[in-house]
Amino acid sequence: MTGEHPADGLDDTVHQRHRLGVLVVLAESKKADFAYLKMTLGLTDGNLGRHLQVLADAGLVKLDKVFEQRRPRTWVTITKAGRAALTTELEILEDLIERARQTRP
C-alpha cells in the first residue's frame, strides 16, 4: 500500500536486537554453534536459547543438536527465509535512517 510508513514493515521476530544479532552473525558465517553465539552476543544460556527457539519456530534458523567427541553441541544455521528477513529488516532500517536525515532540522 502506498503511503505506508516503512516502520510498519518491521518484523518483531527479527527486529528484537538479540535476534537481529544472531541473524547478522549467521548471515556472515552461515553456521555457528551455541557457545560462539553466546560469547559473541554476550547472552546467557537461557536468554539465547529462548531467542533461538523463537527464530527456529519462525523458520528463520535451523537448530542441529549433535554429539561431537561425546559432548553435545548445537549448531545454528540460517535458512533462506532468515536471510531474506534480515535483508528486508536492514533495508527498512536504512529507509528509516534516510527519512530521519531528510527531516532533520
Binding site: 544479532g21 547478522v24 556472515e28 558465517s29 552461515k30 553456521k31 555457528a32 560462539y36 559473541t40
Partner: protein
C-alpha cells in the same frame, strides 16, 4: 543497559574469527608465488595439482576453525572451487588448449595462474568480501601486466630481469604480505 547491536562491527568480528580474508590470501598467494619463482618447474608438486591443492588447504584451515571456534561457512565452497580450479588448470595445461587456442601461448605462464585468481575471486564473491576482491583484482592486473610486458626486461643487474616473471611475482608476494598483516589485524579484532 547493554550495547546496541552494530551489524557492521559484528560482521567484522565474525569474519576475523573465521580468518575469512587472511587464509585464502596467504595460502593462494604463497602457492602462486612459489610456482612463479620456480618458473612452474617445481619439484614439490606439479603446478596443475598445486594450485587446486591451495584451495583444499584453505578449506581444511576453515574447517579446523569451524570445529575449534564454533563458527564457519558450514558448506564446502572452497572444495567446490578447488575442483573447478583443478578442471581449469588441467585444461590450460593440456596440449588440446595449446592446439585449439594457439595465440594463448603469448599469455604463458600467466594463463596458468588465472584459474587460481578466478578461484580467489569466487571466494571473495561468496563472502561478499571487498578486501579479498580488491586483492584478486591486483593479482589479475599483475598477471596481465606480466603478459603485456613479456618481452621487456629490467636492466642494471648482473642479468636482465624479465618483467614477465617479476610483475606477477611482485603481485603475489604483496598478496602474501597483505594476508599476513590481515591475519594480525584479525587476531587483534578477536582479542579486543
Amino acid at each position: 543497559m547493554s550495547d546496541p547491536i552494530d551489524p557492521a562491527k559484528l560482521r567484522d568480528r565474525v569474519r576475523a574469527d573465521r580468518h575469512a580474508t587472511s587464509y585464502p590470501l596467504v595460502v593462494v598467494g604463497a602457492v602462486g608465488f612459489h610456482y612463479i619463482s620456480f618458473n612452474f618447474r617445481s619439484d614439490w608438486v606439479p603446478w596443475w595439482y598445486g594450485l587446486p591443492l591451495a584451495f583444499v588447504i584453505v578449506w581444511a584451515l576453515q574447517w579446523r576453525t569451524e570445529r575449534s571456534r564454533g563458527v564457519g561457512s558450514g558448506n564446502d565452497d572452497s572444495l567446490m572451487i578447488a575442483f573447478a580450479v583443478f578442471l581449469a588448470t588441467s585444461l590450460v595445461a593440456s596440449e588440446t588448449w595449446a592446439s585449439i587456442v594457439p595465440s594463448s601461448t603469448r599469455l604463458y605462464p600467466s594463463v596458468w595462474l588465472l584459474p587460481a585468481v578466478v578461484g580467489l575471486g569466487a571466494i571473495a564473491w561468496r563472502q561478499r568480501n571487498r578486501a579479498l576482491a580488491m586483492w584478486t583484482s591486483i593479482l589479475a592486473v599483475g598477471l596481465v601486466a606480466g603478459s603485456v610486458f613479456q618481452d621487456s626486461t629490467l636492466n642494471g643487474f648482473d642479468r636482465p630481469v624479465s618483467l614477465q616473471t617479476l610483475l606477477p611475482q611482485l603481485a603475489f608476494l604483496c598478496a602474501v604480505i597483505a594476508g599476513l598483516m590481515q591475519f594480525r589485524a584479525e587476531n587483534a579484532i578477536v582479542g579486543s
